[in-house]
């Protein structure tokens, strides 16, 4: 069916808008709201080996990282800063500092069971921001506490471990080609956060990644790209 704009009446225009609404918008919604993929039984790899590779993604000891952070905020706006993170997987403690290149500390807080904010300069001084930052860091650096509910491969052949982290929350750890890793978190069956981790060519520790990309899906979208400047082992 072809539409000649020159012959369109207001009524036909409305019909066209309805067509767009009923067909195109759901298409875009389907594309943008990725759902939980099906896991297939691994045919050529022992599930125990897959699980071991999933374990290796996450640091097993205390680490300190310094990253440069680029945040894409939509509308062509980019913001840049430095992030310092000290993590302790054993007691699941995070110490996070966000600062400008000039050295101004905007945010400094420690979180385990509770949050202790050492410094927070507006507009980084809300509890909501602090909690959200810590959740994102936890997703990147801490292995889910629960045992995996499924281990196998995706249709594409990538190895995957699936964790039921909370009620209505699922975390997938996927090991792709060249050991590139993806961590996807789904909330109520919909993709909520995705993290892509890229190892550096010279990096021997499988839990240290040269580049991290975190994408927030859902109503408030943003993208954070973290490039590793320093990594330090603290208790080995």
């Amino acid at each position: 069916m072809f539409i000649n704009p020159g012959t369109m009446t207001p009524k036909s225009c409305n019909r066209l808008l309805h067509l767009i609404y009923f067909f195109l918008i759901p298409v875009f919604s389907t594309v943008s709201c990725s759902h939980i993929p099906k896991i297939y039984k691994a045919e050529f790899t022992d599930p125990a080996q897959i699980l071991e590779r999933c374990h290796a993604v996450f640091p097993d000891g205390d680490r300190r990282f310094v990253h440069s952070i680029e945040a894409e905020l939509g509308g062509g706006n980019n913001a840049f800063m430095l992030g310092i993170t000290r993590i302790s997987p054993q007691n699941r403690t995070i110490w996070a500092v966000v600062m400008t290149f000039e050295g101004m500390v905007l945010f400094d807080a420690v979180h385990n069971d509770s949050m202790v904010i050492n410094r927070a300069i507006p507009p980084f001084d809300s509890d909501f921001f602090a909690q959200g930052l810590m959740k994102d860091i936890r997703l990147i650096f801490f292995e889910p506490e629960q045992h995996p509910v499924e281990i196998g491969t995706l249709l594409s052949g990538e190895s995957i471990c699936r964790f039921h982290t909370h009620e209505e929350m699922i975390t997938d750890v996927t090991i792709g080609q060249h050991s590139h890793v993806t961590i996807n978190r789904y909330h109520r069956q919909r993709l909520h956060r995705s993290v892509r981790l890229h190892r550096g060519e010279t990096q021997s520790d499988p839990s240290i990644f040269q580049k991290l990309e975190l994408i927030a899906h859902g109503p408030v979208k943003y993208k954070m790209e973290l490039n590793l400047l320093e990594a330090e082992f603290l208790n080995e």
Binding site: R64, V66, S68, E70, A71, L73, G74, G76, N77, N78, A79, F80, M81, L82, I84, R86, W95, V97, M99, T100, F101, E102, G103, M104, V105, D108, N118, R119, I121, P122, P123, F124, S126, F128, F129, Q131, G132, L133, K135, D136, R193, L214, A216, V220, Y222, M224, E225, L229, E230, E232
Partner: protein, 233 residues
Amino acid sequence: MMGLLLKSFNLIINPAKSAQKSTGLKRSISCLLAGVLCAMIFFVFIGWADTWETIRHKSGNIETVRADFLQEKHLKILSKPLISKGSLYFKAPRSLRWEYKSPVPSVLLMHDGKILRFVKSGEGFFRDSGMKLQAMQVVMDEITLWLSGRFQDNPNFNAGLEPGPKIILTPKENTLTPIISRIELMLSDRPGVINTVTIFEDEDSLTRLIFKNAILNEPLNDSIFEEISSNVH
């Protein structure tokens, strides 16, 4: 989650959206940026002095400054300071290029009323639109004040001159105290040049700038303050 980070940046990017709520915040950030950057810059300028009168006299003769710097960030979370290196260029009355070469190459340009910041990402430089760079205008106002030797008239800091010679700046307003507790400047023996600047945020956090290779009153082309001579995306 990090959604608030987005909102936070939006506060900075688009202050009109939340003007009432963010007025105090913007002022804090402005003061913070102004305080730190002014401190970084003005220490190279005002330099050597035993009295405020001498400072006023010496600083009045400075037209341009070029210097390299090493920045040490000391934090409790760090076992060793985080080191950044770069260069600064200044040309009176209101042109500045503050450039980091490592660990993350970035350039802040202030010239002809425009303030731009570029950060290297991947193969080229990207414009940083996240911070409210208009706050940097405050920096230029401060520099102009100091270049005329009137930094005792500084609206943000009380200035004290101590043997060393050392200048100590303390915030005038309580709103600034949680951000910068004090600033210490160690002056060089060479007139007009500063050796180090230490900005104390609190007991556990300080930024030290060590200046070297300072050149005063060298002709500087305006293009230094207008462009970064690299690919910009």
